[in-house]
Symmetry: C2
Subunit: 199 residues, 2 copies
DNA sequence: TGTATCGTTTAACAGTGTTAAATAATTTTA
DNA sequence: TAAAATTATTTAACACTGTTAAACGATACA
């Protein structure tokens, strides 16, 4: 009976619609705006129907992160294919990674646990700039006798901060590295950047 | 009347108790476990009382992030004071930053928007390892003819990933940098690491 | 002692994820 | 075609969330 196939096809379609609706809601109002009832509204059903397709809300998020990793991998492969030299390939791949993060911001957020809401408020705190100011001063001193421009110091600071915050984030959400590996990455990164600052 | 003072002191104390209770709950069960009613339970009151001290839940989070930035700044200053050379100071400060992140994990999370829950599940996805595998291969090729050990490649990979994921995260939650600054940081970081890999 | 103020709680509202039961629609069987 | 069985969908409910308004209790002031 071909009607079975048709029904299966429809089921697969609503399964897909649920994901699309979810992503649409998130893109419009952020991850906090995503609720089962809103998804149901979007696909013109009521909430419990969703549980016929996904066991719970977490399963929807999981499927979205899966899609995210697949899409990212595709982008990386495409970037690689455009070059022959490994150095060029690597550079292109990381730039593709960068582009993906902002083109598919919501996916990147759920893939790697980057919150945005909680830091909306931190921006209002004057205290949030204190750590930067403290480190900024030392970078300026380190560059002496050369007097660095704001732009120059800024780049140094963010290079530092990125590698350290990145390593911290990765370890917090992933807990994959050994302490030795972390210390190694940290040390090589820090001393490398310091050396590049000093000349 | 000194009783006014006593009452003010008590008020200040419960204001503080609310923060302590919140942090305790979060440390025990993560940020998802934090609710107004649980805080009330902890300080042996009912929920609406909390609104006499903080206008809403967000105000509590904001106060915790403020405490976090203050504590981090203190740690950075202490680290700086232990050395005289700017290079040594800088190294010590970033190591203090690192230590703070894990010693006060919950504070760091709310300060910089690092989620942990959503990536519990991503670990189960085989797809989550695809991007690493793709880039891993190119790093190995780039190191040829030297055949890198697993540990060596791992450190290179995480150095790359850290700086890029860090820069992405910072931009997502902060949106502070100009595109030119970002591109500059990205490019210098990438080419720098690539050069260090090639010899 | 009566009144006003303050501290605190109870009750409620709108929202969340999720489940069980009731209903509507469809398909299968007689 | 009519009845039965199965499937699709919804309604109602539960326990929870943040938050507010009203009621209650105690305390201080006249």
């Amino acid at each position: 009976m071909a009607s079975k196939d048709r029904i299966l096809r429809l089921k697969e379609e609503t399964r897909c619609n649920i994901l699309d609706a979810s992503l649409k809601i998130v893109k419009e109002g952020g991850w906090d705006a995503l609720s089962m009832r809103k998804i149901a509204d979007e696909i013109e059903y009521t909430a419990p129907i969703i549980y016929e397709y996904y066991s719970n809300k977490g399963a929807i998020l999981l499927e979205l992160t899966r899609k995210g990793f697949l899409l990212l991998s595709k982008k990386l492969e495409e970037a690689k294919a455009k070059h022959r030299l490994p150095a060029k390939q690597l550079e292109a791949m990381w730039l593709a990674y960068w582009d993906f993060a902002f083109a598919e911001k919501e996916l990147y957020q759920v893939m790697y646990g980057v919150e945005t809401t909680c830091c909306e408020m931190a921006k209002k705190l004057p205290e949030s700039e204190m750590p930067m100011d403290l480190i900024w001063d030392v970078i300026v001193e380190l560059m002496l006798p050369h007097v660095g421009t704001e732009e120059e110091v800024c780049i140094k600071y963010y290079t530092f901060w990125s590698v350290i915050h990145g390593l911290i984030s990765i370890n917090m959400v992933n807990r994959g590295n050994t302490d030795e590996t972390n210390q190694e990455v940290l040390k090589t990164a820090i001393t490398g950047i310091i050396r590049s600052i000093k000349g």
